[in-house]
Amino acid sequence: MHNRQSLLNRITNPKYIMVYATIGIFLIVYAFGAFMYSDKGFLTIRTFANLFIDNAYYGISAVGMTMVLITGGIDLSVGAVASLTGMFIAYGTTVLGLHPMTCILASLVMGVGLGLLMGWVIHYLNVPPFITTLTGMFFARGVCSLISRESIDIHHPFIDALAGWKIYLMKYANGQWVRIRPIAFINFNVILFVIMIIIGTFILQRTRFGRNIYAIGGNEQSASLMGLPAGRTKILVYGFNGLCSVLAGVSYALYVKSGWNLSLQGGELEVITCAVIGGTLLTGGVGSMIGTLFGVLLKSVIPALITFNGNLLSWWGKIATGLLLLLFICIQRFVVTSAGKRK
């Protein structure tokens, strides 16, 4: 009884199995890439850093999506909201001549507001999240197209500075710090992504609000009978997800330096896929930020592998992602049934 809190016992807790699976498969895929393409530089830190740089916007959005999925809901509006954010920034700075921060603030009001509104409709009007957020997606895309149907480039010193800002990864050699070769760096997006993951982890693990999210996902009726504020929690989760979508939009705007009404189409499903292969259950109640982090990495390593191969059509990436999903769902099934049997 006294070693109940022991490390081994904590590690073998069934609730972590999915996270292990994600990390394990990521390592396997990564090792495979390292083995196949080490001559092309797959194993370098630069490649690893690029995984973050090229997918930070998905990752940022996945933080909020993970929370929404844990409550047992879904949010299809994230891609459109992120796209709209990009459009706000592009149109605001390039056409209206506003400062980008003003545009970002406006986007935040829009994104969080829409999120809260959708949360309210889902909870109080009892409309399925799928339908509510689908309508939200149509709305955001529509407004986006209303602003402009052309791609607008962003030229603003503030944006350029933010997008160009880099931290070079250094190593200590011959008594001084030098940039590692091949040169690797991380940028604002990566830092934002990491910060969001840390904030997400803190919320989920260390706050009552976070634990309420899990409780609602486990059984909403029970949660409210236990006296937990189900409605408030759900609404705030959708609001927080709106925040994440806007930040993802900012991050994407920094990445491509333009706004386009059709950008990030289908992005919501990419984000959901990241969360699912990160061990989040679409039925709700299960998921973690660390899993989502590795889900994003795992999903982004596949296009990287295809690029390194050089011969494959990019479409194989979609098929590989689909197969990965299948694999994960099978593992989840296995975990659920085997945990259910141990009574």
């Binding site: 109940r4 809190q5 609730k15 693990q205 009978l225 109640g285 299960v286 009574k343």
Partner: protein, 498 residues
């Protein structure tokens, strides 16, 4: 003793019915007060009104002399009213410890203090003599432990009023005793406990006073010594008990044909070797504790779980049962234990619920016409006395007893040769219970062989021709139903066959 809680003139109306009509209730500090009544008497409604789930149309609630009006479960908990509901109302994905503390976690530096949560949870669970890993998800554990967890949560809240709604239905005898000890301890600390159960013995074992409701009206509040069991039941039902329980056992001749025979059957997990025979028109009782293998055996006979050894013979032909459909085709029927999960199809009408087994045997390509379905449904609504305005009412809107009758009708309509009933009378009121027993015996009379599984020994003894006793997933004895007593069976259950 000081009055802790008092409810005065509570009236609640639902569309079309008065669920509660001018009901008074009072609870003292340091008292265990049983709330009694049949299904639909208004017990749950009264509790829900106290916990803020339902809102009352008239009446006042006073807690320690101050008027309260709980409008949500959260508010009720804040005012000091804590509830353990009949079905486990916890989150299966959270750990045991977290389920106890979620929403009021101890904090340290504005962060959840997990170490403290786990430590206090272990302490609490050890009070129930449960030595388990509280950091594992709740779903990892049995229903009994889950129920204990939910009681632990309520206890830890240190409420002034604790409501226990059917907390014992999934507990075994030892666990019930543990729970009673905890209840007495809490009572000595001055807590007022409202206790709801269907088990009369438990009421007499633990409570101080009881309040009886019938059809939304207050019958009265009595001290525990004021009423005998018979008087109590009479007051609950409003009829004389002898009339209800005046049942005659099925009449089986020694030379009756054997219909169903199982030889050394076992499933892939627990059940190893069960043999039994069933005669035409016979009622075979299955007694044993929860988890003794009764349900598992029934599921094997119905093809709901696969048999890996032995054989099942019906009317001389060996059956190959791989799914329920096969059994239904062979005219075996099965009323499962969990009515809500496995029996009733709540959103469909009574008509559709009743015709389902008949239709599924025919296959979907040979549909019954709407008229045939309606006729069938109406026939059984009349025959079984299902209380409903018409056969198009949603089955989920019926009371527990009527839902059970609908399921029974589904299987009677399928005209089975063998009918397996797993706890058909659980959680329904005494009147409906007696009626279902009567129906069961009538079916026997018309030549159907019935297997009757129940946790309540008196009804098994009252109805069965023979009784199979299960213990630790084995069949330990088979005794004659007409000449045995509860004590005989209890002894075998407790100690195994002599």
């Amino acid at each position: 003793m000081s009055e802790l809680l008092s409810m005065k003139g509570i009236t609640i109306e639902f569309p079309g019915v008065k669920a509660l009509d001018n009901v008074d209730f009072s609870l003292n500090a340091g008292e265990i007060h049983s709330l009694l009544g049949e299904n639909g008497a208004g017990k749950s409604t009264l509790i829900k009104c106290l916990t803020g789930v339902n809102h009352m149309d008239e009446g006042k609630i006073y807690l320690e002399g101050k008027e309260i009006r709980p409008s949500s479960p959260m508010e009720a908990i804040e005012t000091g009213i804590s509830t353990v509901f009949q079905e486990v109302n916890l989150c299966p994905n959270l750990s045991v410890a977290e389920n106890i503390f979620v929403g009021r976690q101890p904090m340290k530096h504005r962060q959840i203090n997990w170490r403290e949560i786990n430590r206090r949870a272990e302490e609490l669970m050890s009070r129930f003599h449960l030595d388990i890993d509280v950091t594992r998800p709740l779903s990892y554990y049995s229903t009994a432990i889950q129920q204990m967890t939910s009681i632990a949560r309520a206890v830890d809240i240190q409420a002034k009023v604790l409501i226990l709604d059917e907390p014992t239905s999934s507990l075994d005898e030892n666990e019930v005793q543990l729970l009673f000890n905890v209840m007495r301890e809490l009572k000595d600390n001055g807590m007022g406990i409202i206790f709801i159960t269907h088990f009369l013995d438990q009421i007499y074992a633990v409570s101080d006073r009881m309040t009886i409701l019938r059809n939304g009206h207050l019958v009265g509040t009595y001290g525990i010594k004021e009423l005998s069991k018979v008087e109590l039941v009479t007051k609950m039902v409003g009829k004389d008990m002898d009339v209800i329980f005046n049942l005659k056992r099925a009449d089986v001749k020694p030379d009756s044909r054997i219909t169903l025979q199982a030889n050394h059957i076992g499933d892939s997990s627990h059940i190893k070797d069960i043999s039994l025979t069933l005669k035409e028109g016979e009622l075979l009782g299955f007694a044993g504790l929860l988890g003794s293998g009764r349900t598992e055996t029934a599921e094997m006979l119905f093809g709901a779980s696969r048999i890996v050894q032995g054989e099942i013979i019906l009317d001389g032909t060996k059956l190959n049962l791989t799914k329920p459909f096969d059994a239904i085709k062979a005219k075996i029927a099965f009323c499962p234990e969990d009515r809500k999960r496995d029996g009733i199809i709540g959103d469909l009408s009574i008509r559709e619920n009743i015709m389902l087994a008949v239709q599924s045997r025919k296959g979907f390509m040979k549909p019954m016409t709407r008229q045939e379905q309606t006729d069938l449904a109406n026939k059984y609504i009349t025959l079984l006395g299902i209380a409903t305005p018409d056969c198009e009412k949603k089955a989920g809107e019926l009371s527990g007893g009527n839902q059970q009758k609908v399921i029974l009708a589904r299987w009677m309509a399928a005209e089975p040769e063998v009918l397996i009933l797993d706890e058909p009378t659980r959680g329904i009121d005494i009147g409906a219970k007696a009626e279902i027993q009567r129906l069961m015996l009538e079916m026997c009379g018309s030549g159907v062989s019935v297997i009757f599984i129940s946790s309540e020994l008196d009804e098994i003894i009252r109805c069965s021709n023979r009784i199979v006793i299960m213990r630790d997933r084995e069949k330990v004895a088979e005794i004659d139903g007409s000449s045995c007593t509860q004590q005989d069976i209890l002894k075998i259950i407790a100690e195994g066959a002599a």
